[in-house]
Amino acid sequence: MGRRLLIGAGIAAAFVLGMVYAWRIAFVDGTELLFNSGWWLVLLAPFAGALAAGLTRRKDPVIDGDRVLRHDGAAILEHWTHGIGTAVLIVTGLALGALFIPSFLAKQQVWAAMNVHYVAVVMFLFGTFYYGVNTLLSWQRFREHLPTANAIKFTVQHYGRLLGNKKYDMPPEDKYFESEKMAYLLALVATATIIITGLLKAAAHVVSIPGAVMGAATLVHDIATLGMLAFFLAHVLFAAILPMGWPMLRSMFTGYVSVEHAKAEHAGWYRRLVKPAVVPSEPKKDRNAA
């Protein structure tokens, strides 16, 4: 826990200091656009994420007394770096002007917002590649995110129950709700699109890229941002604002949920944790998985 706090505090401090520096260097000094002068960090972040993932030894979920380990340190790190990076990117991206709606900013604020966008890009790329490579190393974590044949049925049951319809029972959801799994697909496509088009846009600060390519990249980047915004708002609503998501939010800091919560909300997952051998869909143990 102490190590996790130290790493979290270090990354948070670097991020905040980076944003202050990025804002100051443009808004106060008015001299530097970090996408021009610090392009190398955009290139470095994905490799750093891959290297960090390669060096990480992950813990699988396990029942530990009256609580269940749901998020190991790596899950917490990748979630917050990706999530906070995404939040800042969306805010600065929309402020800079989306889909050719002109910027809401004036004078030096445009460069300052682009500089803050740059800092968030570095954070986002690190977190996303850290997650992506972690996923490459243990496919079962990826499979857990994909919708199953029960997606619609479980979602209707789950939210019907939440809305007070007594004819529905809580379905035996797995580690992730089926509705979350469907939303995950949107986030996956939006993230991949944003990264590809965003790297193109960042590369245009270093090398000459044809206007037609940039025009298409900007348009696709903006549309993907709207997809990401939709996912982000729904995610924040269900995971942080509505009380039903608070145990999970707490787990994103501590790593643990209670056994009662796991039994009530994720009966299918809890069953797998208790009797892993009897679950037919459980994938073969990946020798590379930590």
């Binding site: 993932a53 002007g97 002109p102 910027s103 600060h205 206007g211 940039m214």
Partner: protein, 226 residues
Amino acid sequence: MTDKEPKQVTRREFVTSVGGVGVGAVLGGLFLRGFLLPDQVLAIPASKGYLLIDTKKCAGCESCMLACSMVHEGASNISLSRIQITQNPFGKFPDDITQSQCRQCPYPACVKACPTGALHADDQNGGVRTVDPAKCIGCERCIEACPFTPSRSLWNFEDGHAQKCDLCASATFMGEKGGPGGMQACVAICPMKAIKFTTEIPVQKDSGYAANLRNEHWGNLGYPTD
């Protein structure tokens, strides 16, 4: 004697290596760039063409504005013109009419301010300062950065991007080659011959270029030629 099985690279070893080599390559490249390569001086090439306007010849008919929007946008709309003529009904000659054309500045603040490289010196067209609409994100920094009022970089409210005089290099509706060395619609249309294209860097004044395009025929009509 048994053959020893060759050691296979695991996925984890592979991605760790890719990450490590990538981090090393980026940092190593920076080191080489910083210590082994000479510093580069990035200069924006001067434009090979400029528009001169004789303020004392201009009659304020706005034909140049209509021609400009027509050849660039395919529509006669003075709000889409890259050259702006404004008239002050209370002003006295020659300050009653103001012509605002881009000066193709040697040190263009608009190019420097653009965060995406959309506003650039066009190497293909004699270094004329121009906007690539496809790269423009609509931040309007160039409009704010232009040291002149009104800004010579303008907002195209129909297509949602910045635009400015490119000496007709991108005048797709003109039917003639534009840009430095080509034709300029405003020069061709002006009934007073008050606009001229030149390749010489004009003398700069705060109020505009010092241009006298009047000849003896102008004097014969009783107008001042000095």
